[in-house]
Amino acid sequence: MGSAPETKKLTQEQRIAMVQEKKRRTQRLYLTLSIIGILVFLLIWEIASDAGFVNSRYLAAPSTIFKLFITKLTDPNPDGAVLGVNILASLQVSLTGFFLAIIVGIPLGLLMGWYGGFESFVRPIFELVRPIPPVSWIPLTIVWLGIGLPAKAFIVFFSAFVPCVINAYTGIKQTSPVLINFAKTCGASNFTIFWKVGIPSSLTMVFAGVRVALGNAWATLVAAEMLAASSGLGYMILMGRQFARPDLILLGIVVIGIIGVTFTAILGRVENRVLGWKK
């Protein structure tokens, strides 16, 4: 009888390194699959366009959009602004509205969720305002705020504000009663429990709300720039419509998509950093 092969004993560090390497490999595999998925999608799209399965006047090919992307870096025609100016104008509108929504919406939701009296006072108004589509504010916004940045940011604010409030409200409502009672037993005041227990425990939901708000902010961009604009990605899309240029429309859509994905990734990193203690 031969003896069983001797198994190598791994140290704790080696085990951790092995697991981390495996995790990294899986992440790389998923990233590669994602990239392949996008490339396959673009390839099918390009072939369908080149083969004439789809009319290029209704759906421009990816190669055409890429060429236009290069052209728009320096050429302001036909919408009147180069791509960089359009991106900056849109960033200004969407981020102003988005950050305003965070600054106003999250504290409002937290206070509504923690203080019953405040909730009774504010919630009926919030529930009335909540279902109103942001675009329907456009006529009044023009009268109240004019046609500049505040007006456009207000439209974006409205779309981003609602998820901030709802998630902050739900998050703080879900604070564990055990933690609250423990804090009370330790003699903490209501505000201290709100500050040190309620808010930290609501953060996961709050970040989920911020993610939704970010998506909404970008989604409302075209509507906000419908109000009045001389540059911006939404404006560029509208001009694409004005001159029957599907390539211009698709370029605007793609750029909005890429910026949205970039911001979501940045937000994910911020969330990991802020909520690292929870994971």
């Binding site: 302001p76 023009i142 004005q242």
Partner: protein, 388 residues
């Protein structure tokens, strides 16, 4: 007893025919006149002397809400001119040309401004078969106390103008700036639809607006000063009568009928003051149906400006040819209507919105088609239709 049964059956038949005849319209369209379906089509006398279709047809109209050039369709519908020809009218209302062109699969014929026509031709292969209007009521408005009414070029520099870019409104503003020795670089342009532009202007935004039709009249009524307009600047603002390629190939007779009724209705409007007053009231009614702000005075002004050509005039515009004024297109002489459309096209090329390649596409593909005008005139002459 037999008489009673016969009367009851007759009544039931009449009611069922009436129900069949009036059920295809959109909610915003007028109440149809009593259907004539079932009448002897060969012998039926029609207002214009046109021959009715043997079977009931449905004409889908892309309706430019609030525009005078769309009103002949509505007037003909309410007056029963279509109904007596065995045609039902279905409306697809729009408030801007590009959106109308995008949705061209939902209509057979439509009227729209040159900017919309160009989008339709270049983006959706739509064909222009007639001239709907030469819009004079497209104006520039400033505040009475803003100092711009004096048209001092120095005062105009750095001012903010609200208007829909890429439209005839921009062309009119361009014409004014040109007169003042300025360019678009000297002012700030903000893209807004005309209704929003007027709202914002009333709210103190911007230094001037470029708007048309009922909104232009409303701006004047609000106390703003009309600095200039298409008429005073002598700029041709073309509006086309458009048809879809599908309608032209599959429902050509219906398109021709629509063309004939459209121009003959305008002829009817001009026959007497009473007819014009009725047409103006119907224009106001159509605005109310479509939610366009308008009152009696505005309706009168808008219809007063409406410059739809007569049947003979549109025939000339669609058939007489001469060389391209710009000298750019030499393959053939151009129709007068083509040259009028190119006024807007050439302006939009000059501000970088289109290219000469786009211009050639329209001309090479003969997207201004004179055949409908020719066939309609031949038909009307054969039928002995009186037209001017």
């Amino acid at each position: 007893m037999k008489k009673l049964i016969a009367m009851t059956l007759s009544l039931a038949m009449v009611l069922s025919l009436a129900a069949c005849g009036g059920g295809t319209k959109e909610s915003s369209t007028p109440a149809p006149v009593e259907s004539s379906a079932g009448t002897d089509v060969e012998t039926a006398a029609t207002t214009f002397g046109l021959k009715p279709f043997e079977t009931r047809q449905t004409l889908r109209v892309g309706y430019f809400a609030g525009s005078a050039h769309a009103s002949p369709f509505y007037i003909a519908d309410v007056k029963g001119f279509f109904d007596e020809l065995n045609v039902d009218v279905e409306y697809e209302p729009f408030t801007n040309g590009p959106a109308m062109m995008e949705a061209s699969s939902s209509w057979d014929v439509a009227t729209a401004g040159a900017a919309g026509d160009l989008v339709g031709m270049l983006g959706y292969d739509l064909i222009c078969v007639g001239v709907a209007d030469y819009e004079k009521n497209m104006g520039l408005f400033v505040r009475p106390d803003g100092g711009l009414a004096d048209k001092n070029p120095e005062d105009w520099k750095g001012t903010t103008w609200l208007y829909p870019t890429g439209t005839n409104a921009q062309m009119i503003l361009g014409g004014e700036l040109n007169e003042l020795g300025l360019s678009f670089d000297d002012i700030e342009s903000v893209n807004m639809d005309i209704a929003s532009a007027l709202t914002a202007f009333k709210g103190g935004q911007g230094d001037g607006i470029a708007v048309w039709n009922a909104i232009a009249t409303s701006a004047e009524d609000a106390g703003f000063v009309r600095v200039d307009d298409a008429g005073s600047l002598d700029i041709t603002v073309f509006n086309g009568f458009m048809a879809t390629p599908e309608a032209l190939s599959d429902r050509r007779d219906l398109v021709k009928m629509a063309w004939e009724v459209y121009y003959l209705t305008w002829q009817w409007c001009n026959e007497s003051d009473a007819n014009m007053a009725e047409a103006t009231a119907l224009y106001l009614e159509s605005c109310e149906n479509e939610g366009i702000a308008c009152d009696e005075h505005t309706a009168e002004v808008v219809m007063g400006y409406y410059a739809c050509p007569s049947v003979s005039e549109v025939y000339k515009l669609m058939t007489e040819t001469s060389a391209d004024d710009a000298g750019l297109y030499t393959s053939r002489d151009l129709l007068q209507a083509e040259k009028d459309l190119l006024v807007t096209m050439d302006f939009l090329i000059s501000v970088g919105k289109y290219t000469n390649e786009n211009r050639n596409t329209i001309l090479d593909n003969k997207m201004m088609d004179s055949s409908i005008a020719e066939e309609c005139i031949a038909e009307m002459t054969d039928m002995g239709v009186v037209f001017k």
